[in-house]
Symmetry: D3
Subunit: 319 residues, 6 copies
């Protein structure tokens, strides 16, 4: 049985070397990235069986994605598209530093996943899984993707699979108003909500203290767990009426992209391992901090490394 | 005054290192490529003023194209698109070797140029230019691009600018039947036709000896010059009732992409320099052979290097 | 059910850039290589389920192997060793060219697999599989490895799994006399024998024409199929009393290492697909030729590419 | 009409990878660098027409410079030298970090520009331009270069072109005493002076507070504008009797070389855009800070990026 | 006459690029590293004749070590092993950053040096040298290596060569108890002891203030000089009854490996130059700080650079 | 005692990657090259003690040369120049392929060696050496270098050291007439002459068959040995009245630069080993063929590899 199934878009990720610009570079690093596959890869690396559902063009570019995900042990029973009108989503990332921010350029229109339907995916994998995860990016991709997202969340919910949803608001895909409608249509089928504080305020239009935000969300939508992620200020969770405050672990950041997905991956792995929410948050924060030291979207870590951070070992040289 | 204006699509060109596969590589070389900009760059490098007209997304990816073309001295008065629905065309190239062919994957749908209109381009540049070049790829991109192609060819023709057209049939863009219709709609405004023997037979549906092909085309459409390119068998031209046979120069090939465009660039540069068709073909073949020794679509050569090949200097080390 | 299970050693493969020497390089490419995992990867890439059994050190170096094999879809239910006295086998390869040969340096002593026992491997995977493959390298590694090889071959044989054995004589591991004894102890459990002509003569001490060699082997050991690989002269097979002669496909060689394993992989994939021996040999030769155009031990190919070679498409650029 | 013309030497710039030493490296990055071309490139990138005048050897090395400058949109109507006694200036840069400083090795003797004469340059470009910029490096290169510098500054001054001069004292080219004489001979034709505080004190021999320095310079030589650059302490300008104090923007520095030229480029672009001195200094400081995040001498930036820094947007990831 | 002879193991050092993991990288940097060759290289670079004694496999891998050491001017009269049972020691290093530490994986079992005997080394080089250095790693490698260490230290001692010994405790080679016995067996022949504070406490089992530690060691074993290295807190030395406290110089660290060896190299070079212990410690700290800015184990520095740090010049750009 | 001392100029060698042009590259490989150091390195690698005399700037660039030569075991007792008017000679090489030749750009004016005097070199090393080698490049560099060349050749001759001289005509340094005068002034002190057939005809103005050329040279100048190198047609030698004809070994060429120096190095090493002229020529041809498979000027080979070529082993994979 799979421990975690995720569903969403993964893109090719193209980046020039450190300090170089897209306008002038002639070298690009090629990796892959996508919230749902990042989470699946982190959970697989942390010792659990995970699978990622999606739709990809039947081409070397599409296979580039499954090759990299499989390397991390993720199962990839995706739908393959032969439709020439669909393509491989791509994003370009130029790492910056103050005062130049990191710049992301998305080139994801007409990706194969925009034509996905729940019918072409092995939904039994979700029913047989312990957890199902998707994020607010997926329903924003197309009407078809939104419909599939709803179907899969309901499928999971009906089967007793714990459902996890991260808002992951993307302003380049839809407006806050559209997103709010889209999110609310799904909340009913969600057990565990992960929400950035900023999205909670600006998209869901809620206010108050962080404590107000988590309790308001939990009350209004009857979530089993709500996790509010707050950047440098850590995370706040509410579960069974109790709140948990988790600070961040300091990190020498090489690449910040994927930090939030590593956080979710660490949390879900701990939960799959039977840990309580407090411990889950520690593993989440540790996995996120480790991710920041690693090039690429994916948390290429081991359970032992996460344990060591939770146990607060310093960063020296071990020999 | 500009010597040559060209019009067409240029794409980002992404390729893994020699012997590596797209499915598994994590390094890509980034260059640019497009028939019309390849020709403009070759002509500029060979000593003439050239300009390239097109439409690009107003982004680092769009600017990546003008940066590289400008580096070769090409002027780039393009239209910039702010329309989020358009994108930067991209192609992936995996160099092979027998028995694995070189593999090209196009990702060019919805490129900014598919929305181009002659109105947004500086057509006076064409009227003031000695030559205008475009290829059969451009009208295949979209209805708008086909209309702009026709308008620009007619603009050139009306202004007495010599018009040059290379069939450049692309089976992934249209059928032979569609292409034949598209080509014929433009032939009236074309002075110099460049046609691969294969396209002449399979798309234009003509047959006979190579000599039959060039004379048939010249007769039917009243071209001033017809150049039939025949791969390893060289090229055959017809001009003023005389035919010219040009063999290829042997080359140690590093990258065959762009060979045909280098051929056209060498021919046009010689013609701009006042050379006759026979000499033009020699320069064409020499530029094409040099291109094959160079990584990327563009013939990064000097006039002296082309002269040296025409003068048949051997390939040793000069010190 | 798995289609193919293989068992053997896989090493890290370290190589300097083309034209550079190990003595002076400061850059190494890191890949993995091993006959049995090369075969498993080729078969997986050609569309069948494969698994590779082995024993690896429980370290990033050991996981480097499973990461790369999983990326090609190979299942890796290996035994992990915590014994500090065992290590990760490594080999260095310096690509040459006439008159300098390619140089391989093995550093494989005390690899974890030298302590392997059949008990620590999931032998049920072999029993449930259609085919089982190992090579003459494995029993040469250690007494424990030889014993495990015998046990696994017998397990397969008893379960009705087709067993495939490639002599793969390695003079740095044992003498011809030792190898001959080792091979003969296993032949009883082997259905399909793959043998280089040179090993057949120099190790097994047989002589005569190639036809004599295959028929002699088949007669003496009652193999179902015997394939004699003959380098540039192709391969000769005997099956059901009929001989099959397969020439090589010409290839522009980038990296010759792994050619033989790609040949076996192509053959087994065709056989798993229900093809007869003649067709199997064509797929074998095609896969081997493609492998030569690719950097690394593994045939990073697709079924379509192998089909295209068998169908004798030329190596041009398709666009 | 050109907005800015500059005149000076540009060199090849060779640097080993981060953390590697020149003594032991076998890889060098090749870029170009020179105060006057750095300024021209920054101004072109910020939206104005710029041209760079110089003299280069007629060789691939000389063309390497024009290729890179043209890529940034800079026009390069340079004199080409066929004199075998002249060469391409080169500099090596080894990036350090405390306590090892960044090390620069110049190899610029007998560069083609040391033989330059105003006669061989298109001086009408200067007369038709809005601004002309050169620095104190140019007259230090040779007597011929000093004479050409004086002639071009006077040409500009006579034509009403605003003249801008940056002291840029280089101790490896001349003594403070020689430099002081050289500078003073040119000041009469200078409208805008840019001077490092240290050069003002140690070369021009002035003292007092920064305010004393700018007012003293303005009074003594009747400059329209004086800008005193003060490293981490920002810049102080005097214009029309008013002083302006500009702090630095903090930056994560990848490469500090070219910071001062980016500052001048940002200032001149703002002035060409009609901005006042205070705003000009803000753009100067923002362009300088962005430059520090970028590899190479040149500020590969966009107007939008400079605007964003002036508008004090933080450095996050925008998606 | 040689100024310094050292004896010990040097390994190949393999590391992925910054931010990449061993599990997933396909690129490795190849360097060499070993305490005793690091010290010999630093001393040679700082202007003295040094030689390194060891035993290496007679292969390209063994020669890779002498090639790199010779490049730094170190003489390498090593014993070459043709014994196929011995190999080249290797270590893998993955640079981290908080909260992920730098990870070192040793693969040094059965290195050729484990079979070394004093007989096969040119011991006259030690007798004719001013100083002899080895570290506590060497006797931990094997019984043979321990015996050779003792013999060489005694040879040096008997000949009046100053002997220097650095504890360099490695927990992966022996237990604290074993190490303490091993060290004490050698102390009688040691003149200058270098000991990390942590090893002094945890291996030698001593306690008290740092001052207590150095005076206790000096008293108990009659060392001429004792240097206690204390990480960020600098070093404390005792010599002729006087203690010397040396703080660290701050450094922008690129690679911390080899810092301790650079410290010893700087100290010994200064002592060979006739400097007193206080000055020796300054040079030690300066060489160590410079090392941290450089990729690899070895302090690729010049005497002038060390002088500049001792003279406290800031880290700017000199031109 | 040194076996071979050489004297001459060595330059930095800068080259773009295969298929890239100097005009557009941003990556350069850095190596060193010079006829006399190439010969010294080959002889050292083939098992003999060699030293290289020269004059270098006292800078990281000068040390870059000694670092690389020392790595091959060559002793480098050079004169170091602090004269700012001298510099490090550099050459750029762009590897081509038909019809584009390999292009070499020299930037060697005012190299430190142009100011060399025999006084500043350790001439006793020549007197104590078995052989002394220099080439016709050295006297062409400057009057001072020509004078030092004459002095060192005479010093060697007077001391009974065998003197070896390779014409190595460089048209960019002097005219054929100047060279002929320069060569003849030295011939009296030369024992072994190496001369390209082309230089013999075009510079020395001799004609006739190859046999005529070698016997004419031997007769006219009383050389002990004359070797005429004839490119693809091999070499012809005359010694003790007997002629020897040596064909070339075929090679897969990666880099042809330095082939002639490898030939001389192989010949001298064999002669130092007591081999006769016929065997010397075989080793020469084998070393030259191996060099062609290796990137850079230097023959990074082993005696065993040369032996294997002489013994005509094929180029397969040995494992
Ligand atoms: Ca590149
Ligand atoms: Ca990256
Ligand atoms: Ca990369
Ligand atoms: Ca490329
Ligand atoms: Ca390197
Ligand atoms: Ca490198
Ligand atoms: Ca490789
Ligand atoms: Ca750089
Ligand atoms: Ca690589
Ligand atoms: Ca590049
Ligand atoms: Ca580079
Ligand atoms: Ca090279
Ligand atoms: Ni990378
Ligand atoms: Ni990276
Ligand atoms: Ni890579
Ligand atoms: Ni490239
Ligand atoms: Ni490249
Ligand atoms: Ni390339
Ligand atoms: Ni690679
Ligand atoms: Ni490769
Ligand atoms: Ni390198
Ligand atoms: Ni770069
Ligand atoms: Ni860079
Ligand atoms: Ni790679
Ligand atoms: Ni490195
Ligand atoms: Ni490196
Ligand atoms: Ni490095
Ligand atoms: Ni680059
Ligand atoms: Ni290289
Ligand atoms: Ni190379």
């Amino acid at each position: 049985m799979t421990d975690l199934v995720t569903f969403g878009e993964t893109m090719l990720r193209l980046s020039p070397p450190q300090g170089h610009r897209l306008e002038t570079t002639d070298d690009l690093d090629l990796r892959i990235g996508g919230a749902e596959s990042n989470v699946a890869a982190a959970v697989s690396r942390l010792g659990f069986d995970s699978a990622w559902l999606s739709k990809l063009p039947d081409s070397p570019l599409g296979r580039r994605v499954t090759v990299e995900l499989q390397s991390h042990g993720v199962d990839t029973p995706v739908a393959w598209s032969d439709d020439d009108a669909t393509r491989m989503g791509t994003y370009y990332i130029e790492h910056g530093g103050a005062p130049r921010g990191t710049n992301v350029i998305y080139d994801r229109a007409d990706a194969a996943i925009t034509t996905v339907s729940a019918d072409e995916l092995p939904t039994e994998r979700i029913r047989e899984s312990e957890m199902f995860y998707t994020s607010g990016i997926t329903p924003a991709l197309s009407e078809a993707a939104a419909k599939a997202t709803a179907t899969l969340l309901e499928t999971a919910n009906d089967a007793g699979t714990t459902t996890v949803f991260d808002l992951n608001y993307r302003s380049k895909l839809w407006t806050p108003e559209e997103a709010a409608v889209g999110y609310r249509a799904l909340f009913d089928a969600v057990d565990v909500l992960v929400a950035a504080e900023r999205d909670t305020r600006e998209v869901l239009g809620r206010d108050g203290t962080p404590e107000d935000l988590v309790s308001g969300l939990a009350d209004d939508y009857d979530f089993e767990t709500v996790i509010l992620t707050r950047g440098d200020e850590g995370a706040l969770a509410l579960h069974d009426g109790e709140t948990y405050d988790q600070p961040v672990y300091e990190a020498d950041t090489v690449d910040a992209v994927g930090t939030g997905d590593a956080f979710v991956g660490g949390f879900l792995a701990a939960r799959l391992d039977g840990e309580n929410v407090a411990t889950g948050l520690e593993y989440a924060a540790a996995t996120a901090a480790l991710k920041r030291t690693i090039d690429g979207d994916i948390a290429v870590v081991t359970p032992e490394e996460v344990d060591a951070v939770v146990g607060e070992d310093g960063a020296g040289i071990s020999r």
